[in-house]
């Protein structure tokens, strides 16, 4: 069969090839989070003795992702796990997959279409929730603030990506719902990149404008901002991120970062595999497998180490 980065179970060589259940996995790109997710899918597959994973990376190219699907279909995959490049290509992905069941993972596809189709499902977390959790933490943090006015600095991720949009929108909306007035001091993209966030933060601090909080669409940018705050001796300002990377946990421990939001890559990966494995064998599964986000701060740090 196709020799992809297969994770088959070599212990069970005795089993016939034809009994193998092949599951295709196409990832939007590789970053730390998605790599962890991918590893979780493969680890889960190892626990089944007749599962084989074929994994591709679309390098953020919708075109590539579509061609991955066609290639999975021609390789007789039993199910396909898709980490969407663009969440609006749901319909095209489903069309390309045809009869092969599809499990979307991590990035929420277009819901009406997802709900309409009868052999697809979603496993992941609600990006909006991540922003909400940041806001929840900050509401608590600023609860004693008199004027209810927050001067904020916000680093957006790569423009045009769904989680950039959802996280940004959520944190702002929720804070406003909770009675705060937001004053934009600085809102710009740093493309999820630590170096870019650091450079921009440094220049912003130089303007001397007041700010009460730094919000990052992910941890890397939050950490970049922290490096800049450190050299300006402004570490007292709370910095919040998302992802709960090892770096971020260390920064929370060092009381440099206020909080992060843990997205359960492992849970999403193994959950997606379970769904796919079942669907490949014709079993029914739920439409949504929600893996909740969790807030991480100094209080509950121990749970995540």
């Amino acid at each position: 069969g196709g020799k992809a980065t297969t994770t088959d179970n070599s212990v069970d060589d005795g089993k016939g090839e034809n009994e193998k259940i092949k599951i295709g996995l196409t990832m939007s790109s590789r970053d730390q989070f998605l790599s962890t997710l991918e590893t979780a899918v493969k680890d889960a597959a190892k626990k089944q003795d007749n599962a084989e994973i074929i994994a591709f990376d679309a390098e953020n190219d919708i075109q590539k992702q579509l061609s991955h699907i066609s290639s999975f279909v021609s390789q007789d995959c039993g199910a396909i796990i898709v980490n969407l490049v663009n969440t609006d290509t749901t319909e095209e992905i489903l069309k390309a997959a045809g009869d092969v069941p599809v499990v979307f993972v991590n990035r929420l596809p277009n819901q009406p279409i997802l709900e309409e189709s009868d052999n697809s499902s979603f496993v992941g977390s609600d990006e909006y929730e991540a922003g909400q959790l940041q806001a929840k933490y900050l509401t608590e943090y600023f609860k004693d603030k008199d004027d209810k006015e927050i001067n904020y600095v916000l680093f957006m991720g790569t423009l045009g990506l769904q989680h950039t949009n959802a996280r940004t929108k959520a944190v702002k909306e929720t804070l406003e719902e909770n009675g705060f007035t937001l004053v934009k001091q600085f809102e710009d993209t740093a493309e999820f990149d630590r170096a870019k966030a650091m450079a921009k933060m440094q220049q912003f601090i130089g303007t001397g404008k007041p700010f009460d909080v730094v919000i990052g669409n992910n941890d890397e940018m939050a950490l970049g901002a922290i490096e800049a705050l450190k050299s300006a001796n402004r570490l007292e300002v709370p910095v919040v991120g998302i992802d709960a990377t090892a770096n971020a946990l260390a920064a929370i421990e060092a009381e440099e970062m206020a909080c992060s939001v843990f997205q359960d890559a492992g849970g999403q990966g193994s959950g997606a595999f379970d769904f796919a494995y079942k669907m490949a064998q014709g079993e029914k599964v739920d439409k949504y497998g929600w893996i909740p986000f969790k807030i991480v701060s100094l209080d509950n740090l121990a749970d995540f180490k």
Binding site: F56, L66, S71, L159
Partner: protein, 330 residues
């Protein structure tokens, strides 16, 4: 003796096709799935968008220029056409309530998308022709500007839920041959005709070969430069509209870095960056070489990092092989 000489000459003149055939053989041996009708069609369809860009940028390179803005033009054309043909049932429709009848709506969306992209080719061309700034910098500038415009237009949100009739343009097929592939072939024929059978083509070669001499020989250099960049952006704009139709949504991040692959394809295909040298057959071979490599690595399930490395090596290797024949000839 005379005969053996001819064989050699033939081989050296067509070395790029030899590379292509060699790669096809290697991939076929490595993965029996490769040479199946389904896979080949899949391969062509995947490469058709970048292929269109390569056919466009080849003209720029032939005229001793370059066009870095093509990827951004893809995005702009995609979002403009998409914004005009969203399902009115979609609550977050960009132009609320817009619902043209199909017979008008689809052509309007297509034409608007193509125009929106092509206009920047005219601007690129005029900038380069009249201000004489290097094409690299002119199109680098418009690459950034056009991408910004696409972002601004959509507020960086996707433009999804396009009408089915529009999507058919990019997803349908005629007698089993995908529309995308048909359009690519059509454009290749047009490009070949333009270069080999029209005055415009001869002018492009001459301008690339020696623009001062071309002007003295009575060629309207400025007009032709503008035409060259108009053509390349036209190809990209068509590609953008098709991409929106194929993926069923337009988004401002579409086509990022596509121009690099397109330039690579043209260069692999023997289009010289010193201007004036290159043929459409070579460009097509270049596109296919990249396609076979991408597809082959995918079928073989090579890890994505190693895929990148192998791809880079093959790009360089193909051009080196192609140069060796020139080195011998000189």
């Amino acid at each position: 003796m005379n005969k053996s000489f001819d064989v050699k000459k033939f081989a050296s003149k067509n070395s790029i096709y030899i590379v292509l055939i060699f790669l096809i053989i290697v991939v076929t041996i490595a993965s029996p799935k490769f040479l199946t009708v389904g896979n080949i069609i899949n391969l062509f369809t995947t490469e058709s968008i970048k292929g269109l860009l390569a056919l466009g940028v080849a003209f720029c390179i032939l005229s001793k220029g370059i066009d870095l803005s093509l990827g951004s033009i893809v995005a702009l054309s995609a979002v403009v056409s998409a914004s005009l043909i969203q399902n009115p049932t979609y609550s977050a429709q960009m132009f609320k309530g817009l619902d043209m009848p199909i017979g008008i709506g689809v052509p309007v969306a297509i034409v608007a998308g193509i125009l929106a992209g092509t206009i920047f080719g005219v601007i690129n061309g005029a900038l380069i022709a009249y201000t004489k700034i290097p094409p690299f910098i002119a199109t680098l500038g418009s690459m950034v500007v056009v991408r910004g415009l696409a972002m601004l237009y959509t507020n960086a949100y996707p433009v999804p839920m396009l009408k089915n009739e529009f999507k058919t343009v990019g997803q349908g097929n005629i007698l089993g041959i995908p529309n995308l592939l048909i359009i690519l072939i059509l454009f290749a024929l047009i490009a070949w005709f333009l270069l080999n059978h029209t005055k415009f083509g001869k002018n492009v070669y001459a301008i690339g070969g020696n623009d001062v001499a071309a002007r003295v020989a009575g060629i309207k250099v400025k007009k032709n430069i503008i035409l060259v960049y108009t053509w390349s952006s036209f190809c990209a704009a068509v590609a953008g509209v098709l991409l929106a139709a194929r993926t069923g949504s337009g988004i401002a991040t579409l086509g990022l870095n596509y121009e690099l692959d397109a330039i690579a394809a043209a260069t692999i295909g023997g289009v010289s960056h010193n201007g004036g040298v290159g043929r459409i057959g070579g460009v097509i071979a270049g596109i296919l070489i990249l396609g076979v490599v991408n597809n082959g690595l995918l079928l073989l399930g090579v890890s994505p990092y190693i895929q990148q490395i192998v791809k880079g090596l093959i790009i360089v290797g193909a051009v080196v092989f192609d140069m060796r024949k020139n080195a011998k000839a000189a």
